[in-house]
């Protein structure tokens, strides 16, 4: 399992993290890879902190536990930084992606993040409010994830998004989400 990428998502219920964790997995499946995506189920109250997990691998995935040593950590709500140790267990060369107005350098200082870990920030909420008219930062953060990590292709992500959202939402909403992916991929800042 050398080629397995493990992503841990931190969010509040209602921000679409579970959908995002599946969207990224399904995008990888589209490219012929093996996947796993699961939320950690607890009391499902809007606004409660939650975690979700995505595994992507070139070989069948046989482990079925929560992700303790993530390669990538995605945080959809910056207020969680004061409550949750989002960096817990992250690999020394891992990547942290946060929905935040702060610059990545500021986040690095605030959380005292070692130099080996890549830090990326994007105003995913701002992009969502502007384009979807609601603060659901999941599709923008997926765009940022694709841009920063390279393991997921933007075009494949949008193709999968079309497939997943096409069954549930109007063309207007789908278009707005597709724009969110592009805009966040363009806006994300890395340090």
């Amino acid at each position: 399992m050398q080629n397995m990428t493990e992503i841990r998502w931190h969010a509040r219920a209602g921000q679409g993290a579970v959908t995002a964790s599946k969207l990224v997995a399904e995008t990888a499946l589209l490219k012929g890879r093996y996947i796993q995506a699961m939320p950690e189920y607890g009391p499902e109250r809007t606004g409660a902190p939650l975690r979700a997990f995505t595994r992507i691998s070139d070989a069948p995935i046989e482990v079925h536990n929560n992700i303790t040593d993530p390669d990538i950590v995605v945080v959809l709500d910056h207020t969680l930084l004061d409550l949750v140790d989002v960096l817990e267990g992250i690999k020394p060369d891992g990547t942290l992606i946060i929905n935040s107005l702060l610059a990545p350098e500021e986040v690095r200082v605030k959380l005292n993040i070692p130099a080996g870990i890549k830090v990326a920030t994007v105003d995913a909420s701002g992009i969502a409010v502007k384009l979807i008219k609601r603060d659901i930062p999941n599709t923008p953060i997926c765009g940022a994830l694709a841009a920063v990590t390279g393991g997921i292709e933007i075009d494949a992500l949008k193709e999968q998004l079309l497939g997943t959202f096409g069954k549930k939402f109007s063309q207007e909403i789908i278009d707005a989400n597709l724009q969110c992916v592009d805009e966040a991929a363009k806006e994300v800042k890395v340090a």
Binding site: E26, Q36, M38, V63
Partner: protein, 397 residues
Amino acid sequence: MAEQKVLAANGNTMVAEAYRQAEPDVVAAYPITPQTAIVEQFDKYVAEGLVHTEFVPVESEHSSMSACIGASTTGARVATATASQGLALMYEELHIAAGMRCPIVMANANRAISAPINIHGDHSDVMGARDAGWIIFFAETAQEAYDNTLVSFRVAEDKDVQLPVMTTMDGFITSHAMERCELMDDATVADFLGTRTAREPMVGGDHPVSQGMFASVGGAYFNLKQGESLAIDSVKPTIQRIGEEWAKICGRPFSLVDAFECEDADYIIVILGSSAGNARAVARELREQGVKAGVLRLKLYRPFPAAEVREGLKNAKAIAIMDRSDSFGAQYAPLGEDVRCALYPMDGHIPTRDYIYGLGGADVTLDLMRQVYSELQELAAGKLDQGKHYLGTNKAQ
């Protein structure tokens, strides 16, 4: 050649798809977490006209199993799904379904039993039903939940079996986690499953019969129960034959037990369900370090594949039996007792240590698996006792 579609799906979806393809005549079910999505999705297929199933939305699991028994005695193909307290509420009817030799397929999304309330995955519910006379499968993955479900219809309805089958997967871990799965085309599944031919239906046909009658005098009950016992004891070759037939079609291997590197293993973990992969991942890691580790996963739990377990464990120096349930007041948890009984007729003694793990969905980390293998090495060296231990709790043993 059979065509399979690759899709991202969780265990509940894969079971609902298997039910759609099996198209039971009757499904009577009541939703309960974590299997609700099976019932919900299947009901949608009924509403959309994708299947011509009589869906009976009952008011409890006691009623769902009662309705399933009634339907099965008429010769219908019958399926349902449940979990946890729902399975517990069926307790009476589970025995009646087996005693009346009713082929019924029931998915169970394994979940803890109250109290306290817990919706997460463990095997406490299934183990409460292990003596009811049902054939019981444990799936490791969503894919296997699908394969086992299809095989179960054929097994249950086979003229030499005629018994209910519980096809289980771990709640949330398997029922709700999305994985890469393969779905067989409908025509191939329809061809594999065929239709049910009832041996002696209660209604219809030229010779209607009565079933489940009063049998309190003259030893009839005693003799019939022996028949039931012989029936379940003799189904293994049929399961093997049908499983292999499906394996040939779908290209995924089938065996009653999955023995990973057991042939020359010194240290073997025996386990059921979704955590087997974690044990295998650590066993691979240890093999790279020169430690001969193996994993014996039971896919079939009832009837207990004792000969296969013995065969898999015969060369071990130390064995860990891992139970995701407890049997309070008993010497060991259910799998612990089963495996120890299976080993008893063997010459020589292999030291065995029992671990109760992951109750109420407690996460089974790779570190815990490493701990078990490390303790097995101490056990083989005579430095540890052979008792029952809780793994990963904060209480000292």
